[in-house]
Subunit: 407 residues, 2 copies
């Protein structure tokens, strides 16, 4: 537990950190041996917000979630890993609906308030017999202690579960907000993210909840990149069930900034955990662009650098190869004068005025690259816009994982 500036307290928990949530995560048999099916329950049913992939190819469950979001209420989420139920046509849609129906029946709740998410291989059908039995089993196991199991059951190539939670005071009561995420590969959420589920016992009106989620996702999950590939199943769901019995929060409530800060806290910690656990990643790198002529230019330069294979492999090699960084900025489409560019690695100047910084040695810079975390700061000196992206290196392990694993 640690306390931060706004009086919030970071917690270790996940989706069951807040009151009124229970969960379970089990091995149903979709994958060979590890957990592959999770259920998260909110009692009472929660206000729900969602942000989804902008990929034109969308999994069946994304279509179902988008539709159910209109109802505004969630009593449960059922999630499987091992099969994405994407590119599965009408049968995929029917299977997603069936997952919701079976879950609703087992939990004795309204089917229209059950959300469904799938992650794993694209283009194969769900093994529905295994899934239906798994749902029945998991529904019998949900508990307020089940958040950890649930966070394990949604993993694919993740090397570990990703959870974060926070406690804050708003609407006259102490509330909690916690979440879990899965990441690893196919990560460049442009308008959405990988699977993430966040729950809070604060009471929040639906419109404010959706607005807050959209804003926070843009500042957190949308600022990370592992490999530049955007999944067709990216989904973030945020549930607020009011079980803390506080006043209903909305964007005009004086405590609103506290709530949104709590949401950003958890979303950012989960986003960072996705990068740290990026497939084969050995480095957590912050790409910071300053002095861009426009927000769009800052974004272009940051994405080009963060997604450059040459840049990412040089980080893996612990090589302060700033030539590849400035080269990527150069083809990004951002407008700037190469002769005015400054680049630093953490506290060390590598480039000044588009050339090697006077007096700086490759050996000194290489010391920074040996760190587990460092920042590459690129000042284009072309304006006042800036941005940051969180990314990782590209290692042998990434190639191994993705040449051997079928998405």
């Amino acid at each position: 537990m640690s306390s931060n500036t706004s009086g919030m307290v970071d917690l270790e928990g996940g989706v069951t950190a807040a009151k009124g949530y229970s969960a379970a995560g089990i091995h149903a048999g979709i994958k060979k041996s590890s957990k592959d099916l999770a259920i998260v329950v909110s009692n009472p049913p929660a206000a729900v917000a969602g942000v989804f992939t902008t990929n034109r190819v969308q999994g069946a469950t994304v279509k179902l979630c988008r539709e159910r979001l209109r109802g505004g209420k969630a009593s449960a989420i059922v999630i499987n890993s091992g099969c994405a139920n994407a590119c599965t046509g009408a049968r995929g849609i029917a299977d997603a609906g069936r997952m919701a129906a079976v879950t609703a029946s087992a939990l004795k709740t309204a089917e229209s308030t059950v959300f469904v998410c799938s992650t794993g291989t694209i283009g194969i059908f769900l093994p529905m017999d295994v899934i239906e039995k798994g749902i029945a089993k998991a529904a019998g196991l949900v508990s307020a202690q089940g958040g950890d199991d649930a966070s394990e059951a949604i993993m694919t190539t993740d090397t570990g579960p990703k959870r974060a939670a926070v406690e804050f005071t708003a609407g006259g009561v102490k509330s909690r907000l916690g979440g879990m995420a899965k990441g690893a590969g196919m990560i460049e959420p442009k308008m959405a993210t990988m699977l993430s589920f966040i729950t809070t016992d604060a009471a929040v009106d639906g419109a404010s909840l959706q607005n807050a989620l959209a804003r926070v996702v843009n500042r957190t999950f949308n600022r990370i990149s592992v490999d530049g590939d955007q999944s067709c199943n990216d989904t973030v769901l945020l549930l607020a069930n009011g079980a803390a019995a506080g006043a209903v929060l909305g964007e005009k409530h004086p405590d609103w900034p506290v709530f949104e800060a709590a949401l950003e806290n958890v979303a950012m910690r989960l986003a960072h955990k996705i990068v740290i656990d990026g497939e084969g990643a050995t480095k957590f790198v912050t790409v910071q662009i300053r002095g861009a002529a426009s927000d769009s230019d800052a974004e272009k330069a940051a994405r080009a650098i963060a997604n450059s294979l040459l840049v990412k492999t040089s980080w893996f090699g612990q090589d302060p190869n700033w030539g590849r960084v400035i080269d990527a900025a150069g083809y990004s489409g951002a407008i700037f004068d190469p002769d005015r560019v400054d680049i630093s690695y953490d506290e060390l100047a590598a480039v000044r005025g588009g050339m090697a910084a006077p007096g700086m040695t490759k050996g000194a810079l290489a010391e920074v690259l040996k760190r587990k975390r460092f920042t590459v700061d690129v000042n284009l000196n072309a304006g006042a816009a800036e941005t940051r992206l969180f990314t990782c290196d590209c290692s042998h392990e990434y190639v191994s994982i993705n040449s051997e694993y079928t998405t």
Copy 2:
């Protein structure tokens, strides 16, 4: 030697295949042991055309070549590998000028007709003492047999030299056109390409020469991608010295199509050689998009697929992972209905109507992926536009090369 449909004959030679060209390639000492300095001479001086990188960051030699191109004549090209002379400021510009001056002096030709190209590490200065001595030595060795040595001297991480030549009849005489290229990494020439030098003894007017080069580069070098990184030194120079003593060719001459076909023949062979020798590449893959709603959509889908790390690593793993292919098309920005997409690997249907093709097994598809060369054909069924890109897989070797080598 092989004869093709238009009566052209493919030859094995390179930049000295055509009359009036001589060359040399030597070890000057920029690199530890391999050849690193080449000179190509045209006698008589040739009409010259050039296409350059569109990267905002441009090497000193690119700036010099752009300027000299206005003069329209080339008597020699001096090229070094091992140092890109990029991000080197005013000193870099002066060094490039000095390379041209020393070459002109050694060859007793006009400095304004000497072109300079550099490739290698970004951000370091040229070792001018070593280079000046190397130029003097190479100038004394130029010969009509020197094309092979020159093609070796321009390599960086290339595993072998890339040459191609052709013989054709135009303007009443037999002419030849030959070239060399270097490639390997930092390859996604968007409006230009890596270093390539093409020479012909045909006589061609300057404007037609430039137009032909621009068109042909768009159909050849601009259709390849190794890693999506665009170099800041990309250059193609085309010299036509008229030494075959034929009529002057221009876009309105009846033999013009023969000349442009000869140029495309050599440029395409060189471009394919760059892909085959892509850093760590084990597969040559043609990404073919059909049925796109627009040329721009076809291009977006092809680039997204060819540059997807997940797609490229699955090719390395010989895994017919079409889910990653359709996913990349989905986030490319191209507009299409995912439920109408068809995907084939060579002669085998993998996807029909956005789902796994009926009756097709993963095992059967995997047999195609074992081939050294295959085509991934994606029909978006959204219109009539189509395009092709030539690319390679991403292997452990790519990561090794680029985490250990400083560009």
